[in-house]
């Protein structure tokens, strides 16, 4: 069934109370794609992702995981769908009272019949996949921010989910770590055939690994561009704010340099 997209948003409207953050958000993510949700700060990228995680109910519109209407059923249905979806939060959100192996293992323990020893082995393997072999018994507070992100990714991968949702995976990472994370994502896609939905404003990552993307515009509160970032940056009919975003504000003539000011 190659025709059914893995994830689909239909006329989604999100907001808080009477405040509408975005409306008419529609897009499709196909299996095996690396899909970016782009946008400036505060445009609602993370909120959109939270709707896909089951943490924020949309005001209108629908979300489909395959053929299943995500918000159309009860909490039990969402829980069942989320079991097949891995999530990496912005700060990693590792459970601070547990070691890395326990963090990865907790999810496995909840949903599988594995013995303690097997859980441990699975967790070690997932940690090794993200380059954290040997760190099983470290607590999240004992490792660096970049390692925490990777450990969070290992936890997201615990149940071999077909879809992964990543919230700003490279935020706060140095360029090299960020690049390594990009490579890791590409490798995981190639080997595990996972699909990634990534919220980011890291242009380097976006151009390096995105297959498809949407641009959320804070001013119009809707999706103003939809396509492969390289094409969007080149296409003449791309909306202005999206082009500005993808080119870091154009040719920089109207920004002041430090020299002018001093």
């Amino acid at each position: 069934m190659p025709d059914v997209p893995l994830l689909r948003a239909c006329d989604l409207q999100l907001g808080y109370g009477g405040f509408v953050l975005m409306r008419n958000v529609s897009f499709e993510v196909r299996a095996g794609e690396i899909f970016f949700i782009m946008g400036g700060s505060g445009c609602g990228k993370s909120t959109l992702l939270r709707a896909f995680m089951g943490l924020k109910s949309p005001q209108a519109g629908r979300i489909f995981y395959g053929k299943e209407d995500f918000w159309g059923g009860g909490a039990e249905k969402r829980r069942r769908i989320m079991r097949r979806t891995g999530v990496l939060f912005q700060g990693g959100a590792l459970w601070s009272s547990m070691t890395l192996a326990e963090n990865v293992g907790l999810v496995l323990r909840g949903y599988t019949e594995l013995s303690d020893e097997e859980v441990r082995q699975h967790a070690s393997l997932k940690l090794a996949l993200v380059g954290l072999a040997g760190f099983e018994d470290y607590y999240p507070s004992e490792i660096s921010g970049g390692m925490r992100k990777r450990a969070g990714l290992a936890r997201a991968l615990a149940l071999d989910p077909p879809a992964l949702l990543l919230d700003e995976p490279s935020a706060g990472l140095d360029p090299v770590s960020s690049r390594m994370l990009d490579d890791l994502i590409l490798e995981l896609r190639a080997t595990l055939r996972s699909t990634f939905v990534i919220v980011s404003h890291e242009l380097a990552s976006i151009f390096a690994i995105a297959d498809n993307s949407i641009f959320l515009d804070a001013a119009t509160r809707s999706v103003t561009a939809y396509g492969k970032p390289q094409d969007l940056a080149r296409a003449p009919d791309t909306e202005n704010n999206a082009v500005n975003f993808l080119t870091r504000g154009g040719d920089c003539t109207n920004t002041l340099s430090i020299k002018d000011v001093a």
Binding site: G54, L55, M82, R83, V87, A93, L106, V107, L256, V261
Partner: protein, 373 residues
């Protein structure tokens, strides 16, 4: 060679020349108000800004110029800047992005009437939310009984150790001193009648029946209730609670249930321990200060108290355990996403626990009185 900031104002027909000079520094008094008043002169149609003898300057000069230009703009006075390049740039930058419409918060002050009304109306949803939370704990407990709860035994054991064993020293200290105080206060009256021996009964019944439990409750509110609120609240801020939900693990099962169970289980034991310590404090006063016979004091305590008193104390203790753990966990779970919110949640947890304990004590005391036990 420090020079003070200067502002020279020169009229040339309809135009006003403001020349700034000297050293402008934030920590100096500035001669600015006169120039602003001159602008208010209705004849002025043009404003020239110049900096002839300007020495060095910082933001104070910029603030002054921006104020000047703003005032000029509101009066439709044309502004010509004959300033150094850097200064001109900064002034332009200050005006480059117009203030976002609606970004500045209008300070809304509710009238007393609407504030009271709003608070009263907010009570009902808050009560609903509270009852939902209680309901979730109860269903979580039922899942535990049927063996389907996602609670880790390890977490429960840790919580028992943390709120039980680790609380022993501080409970010993406070209860011992409280027994001492109780004995002293009683002795003042009782020695006047030569009835010192009744100090044993006073301390014994007082501690067993209610004061032991209250001591435990107050100490636990600060020690454990606050810790629960802060821990779960910080997990909320760090998205760890969301991560649990997304992983299909109920935060109530995983975080709240082990803590509520642990504290509810431990407070009765701690109450017994506090009772014992309080009686020891009374014994010390009776024997050392009031010169009572040690054996006599012990016998009197045994005669005047009964198991009934102890059981009543345990009921108080158990109820306090529920109140403290539920208040702490609830504040943590409903904490908003900032460090400030964690602080507020912690404060609220302690205040609600202590108020809850006092209200519950009053209610239970009335009930026990009516039941005549």
């Amino acid at each position: 060679m420090e020079s003070s900031p200067q502002v020279a104002v020169l009229y040339q027909g309809a135009s006003l020349r403001v020349s700034v000079g000297g050293q402008w520094r934030m920590d100096r008094a500035l001669p600015v108000d006169q120039a602003l008043e001159d602008i208010a002169d209705t004849h002025v149609r043009e404003l020239y800004l110049e900096a002839k003898n300007l020495d060095s300057w910082d933001t104070s000069l910029l603030v002054f110029l921006v104020r000047l230009i703003r005032t000029a703009q509101t009066r439709d006075i044309a502004v010509n800047m004959e300033l150094p390049d850097g200064l001109k740039h900064l002034v332009r930058m200050a005006f480059a992005v117009p203030a976002q419409v609606g970004a500045a918060r209008a300070s809304t002050r509710d009238s007393l009437f609407s504030a009271v009304g709003g608070a009263a109306l907010a009570l009902i949803p808050r009560l609903t939310l509270f009852l939902c939370f209680i309901g979730e704990i109860v269903t979580s407990f039922r899942r535990l009984l049927s063996g389907r709860a996602q609670m880790r035994i390890q977490d429960f054991v840790d919580a028992v150790y943390e709120c039980g064993v680790c609380s022993l020293p501080i409970i010993a200290l406070t209860s011992l001193l409280f027994g001492l105080i109780l004995a002293f206060v009683g002795a003042i009256q009782l020695t006047r009648f030569g009835a010192q021996i009744y100090v044993a009964g006073l301390v014994g019944i007082g501690m067993l029946r209610v004061m032991g439990a209250v001591m435990v409750g107050v100490v636990m509110s600060g020690r454990v209730g606050a810790a629960y609120a802060a821990l779960i609240g910080a997990m909320r801020v760090n998205e760890e609670v969301d991560a649990l939900s997304v992983a299909g693990i109920s935060p109530i099962d995983f975080l709240v249930l082990p803590r509520v169970l642990a504290l509810t289980l431990m407070t009765p034991f701690l109450t017994l321990y506090a009772d014992l310590m309080g009686i020891c404090g009374g014994y010390f006063v009776g024997v050392v200060i009031l010169d009572l016979n040690p054996l006599e004091y012990v016998t009197a305590t045994a005669q005047m108290t009964s198991f009934r008193h102890m059981f009543i104390g345990l009921v108080y203790g158990t109820v306090f355990g529920v109140i403290i753990s539920v208040a702490g966990c609830r504040q943590g779970i409903f904490c908003a996403g900032s460090a400030q919110a964690v602080g507020q949640a912690t404060t609220k947890a302690v205040v609600q626990s202590i108020v809850g304990i006092i209200v519950a004590t009053a209610l239970l005391t009335v009930i026990f009185n009516v039941l005549d036990v």
